[in-house]
């Protein structure tokens, strides 16, 4: 595993009686990390703590090995942020706004840097328009540009592809990948759109109810969760489900589009038993295979939601 740049240990945060984070132990290495979870699972609170905007009630959070509350200024010098809400000054032009941000980061060649960034994110033609005239996609691209000013070591992006068209999403994802490849910028991307993460991430963090449900290298997680799920197509799925549910090797069974999915805890026993059940119930076995894991499946399994 690469160097860990974001690390939290037993992080706790409550707002009144609402517990937002409940002992969060999260690690994000260098590279592109996806940060997924349901609404209200604690993603934005975690980002707020990482930026020093929110003080945790307990535990520890570090970025680049620096304490997020005590050393937040140092941390913010080395990272860029794109918040979910596009709160940019509407009366400024995109160019003028980025110039101001560049000056705050102490960028010495402001004009060249801003022009290059605007070109990179595809806003070169709209650079002199007031921000209030920008579309949702343009605002997201402006947000990405301001997060990448000063070549940060880490860029935290909160829902970067929300509310933008498919082409805009692809462009944005390409830009993220390009920045990572060309400038070694790491990314922590909080999003609901799992298919986006699948395209670019190499590390996945799943948060649920203020705790980490699972985290790790995306390939390892895919293997881990795929290995335990089997897809079976038989002539009478209902009958098959009833029989399979009685097996001790199966944790969970569900039916989807006339296909039966089984989460198993003992693949060897399960594979032995399936032919016996099929013969015994006189069913026709059309297919029997391990599923190919997708992020959606990993996510569904880790947060324990029923897929029916």
């Amino acid at each position: 595993m690469n160097t860990i740049i974001v690390n939290t240990t037993n992080l706790v945060k409550s707002f009144g009686k609402v517990v937002a984070l409940n002992g969060l132990n999260m690690q994000a290495p260098k590279g592109i990390s996806g940060f997924v979870g349901k609404n209200g699972s604690g993603k934005t609170t975690t980002i707020g703590i990482l930026l020093g905007l929110i003080k945790p009630n307990g535990g520890n959070a570090t970025v680049f090995g620096l304490d997020c509350w005590q050393d937040s200024f140092e941390i913010r010098r080395r990272l860029g942020v794109m918040h979910e809400i596009n709160a940019y000054p509407g009366s400024f032009s995109g160019r003028r706004f980025l110039e101001h941000v560049a000056k705050l980061y102490g960028v010495s060649q402001v004009n060249q840097t801003v022009d290059a960034l605007l070109k990179d994110v595809g806003l070169a033609e709209a650079k002199d328009k007031p921000i209030k005239a920008y579309s949702a996609g343009m605002l997201k691209r402006l947000g990405l540009a301001q997060a990448l000013i000063g070549n940060p070591e880490l860029a935290i992006l909160d829902e970067p592809t929300a509310n933008i068209d498919p082409l805009g999403r692809l462009t944005l994802l390409d830009k993220i990948k390009e920045m990572h490849n060309n400038h070694d910028t790491s990314f922590l991307i909080a999003t609901h759109i799992l298919s986006d993460l699948e395209k670019i991430c190499n590390w996945l963090i799943i948060i649920d109810s203020g705790k980490i449900a699972d985290q790790g290298n995306i390939h390892n997680l895919t293997e881990k969760y795929s290995a335990s799920i089997y897809k079976v197509e038989v002539s009478n799925p209902q009958l098959f489900v009833a029989a399979v549910q009685k097996l001790g090797a199966v944790d969970r069974v569900w039916e989807e589009n006339d296909k039966v999915f089984c989460k198993v805890n003992n693949p060897e026993v399960f594979c032995e038993q399936i032919p016996k059940i099929v013969i015994e119930l006189k069913l026709q076995l059309k297919s029997f295979q391990q599923t190919l894991g997708t992020l959606e499946e990993i996510y569904t399994q880790t947060v324990g939601e029923k897929r029916r």
Binding site: F15, R76, R77, H100, S108
Partner: protein, 251 residues
């Protein structure tokens, strides 16, 4: 990409000023300032005593100033908390004290600049010399009133986080104080102005001064009139500053 040492604070002040100047509300501020001054100067006196025009009608100026200032300060603080602008700003490499003070300084400069510029119309309208001391005394009192409104607006902005509530409550609070106390009370803006103006009038226009109060204004009275807004501002802004920089969580 090379980096230089940023002069963050001055850049933030300039950014805030530029932000205020590009607001559509700015034209309203300037218009309100000019109207307030024109209303004030609508009662001409003889030339020898025309300085008294600086005193007449200032209650209108204080009223409109309170409305405009509470709107702008509430927009700068509560508005930015509500729309996520403050969260974005504090995610840049800036310190909280820099953001707080830049907002206070920029907004104060904009409002005071607009009103002071409009107030100079008085010099022309009342045929006063640019060296008329009571002109500067009036500006100073206006500045004290602005500081008071600034403190109230920022305090309520940080407490409520709502621009509309902050604007309304700040304005009504200042207006309520002015209405609850008469023009001889230290707790009304007009009362403080009367004491300060009256005291300096006695000093500078010995031959022809109007008695604004029942008796000559004493040093103690003028000191209290100056001390009250300064004290409220110092305590209020310091508390707001400490809360903003040490405690406040931006969610």
């Amino acid at each position: 990409m090379s980096r230089s040492r940023p002069r963050t604070f001055s850049r933030l002040v300039l950014w805030e000023i530029e932000g205020c100047l590009s607001l559509p509300i700015l034209s309203l501020i300037v218009a309100s300032a000019i109207i307030a001054v024109l209303v004030q100067s609508s009662s001409p006196r003889d030339f020898a005593n025309s300085y008294i025009n600086l005193y007449d009608g200032t209650s209108i100026i204080f009223l409109i100033l309170a409305l405009v200032a509470s709107t702008l300060f509430s927009h700068s603080f509560a508005g930015n908390i509500g729309n996520g602008g403050l969260k974005r700003m504090l995610s840049y490499p800036v310190r909280r004290w820099q953001v707080f003070l830049s907002k206070v300084i920029a907004t104060t400069l904009i409002v005071f600049g607009a009103y002071a510029s409009a107030f100079t119309l008085n010099l022309y309208l009342s045929s006063l010399s640019p060296l008329e001391p009571l002109f500067y005394v009036s500006l100073f009192t206006m500045f004290l009133h602005l500081l008071l409104v600034c403190t109230v607006s920022i305090g309520i902005s940080l407490l409520t986080g709502s621009e509309i509530i902050s604007t309304m409550v700040s304005f009504l609070l200042v207006l309520g104080l002015d209405n609850a106390f008469d023009f001889r009370s230290y707790f009304s803006s007009q009362g403080r102005f009367t004491y300060i103006f009256g005291y300096f009038e006695q000093l500078t226009h010995l031959d022809s001064f109007f008695m604004l109060t029942n008796s000559p204004v004493t040093v103690e009275e003028v000191a209290i009139s100056i001390a009250i807004p300064i004290l409220v501002t110092t305590v209020g802004l310091t508390t707001a500053f400490i809360y903003f920089t040490r405690k406040m969580e931006i969610d």
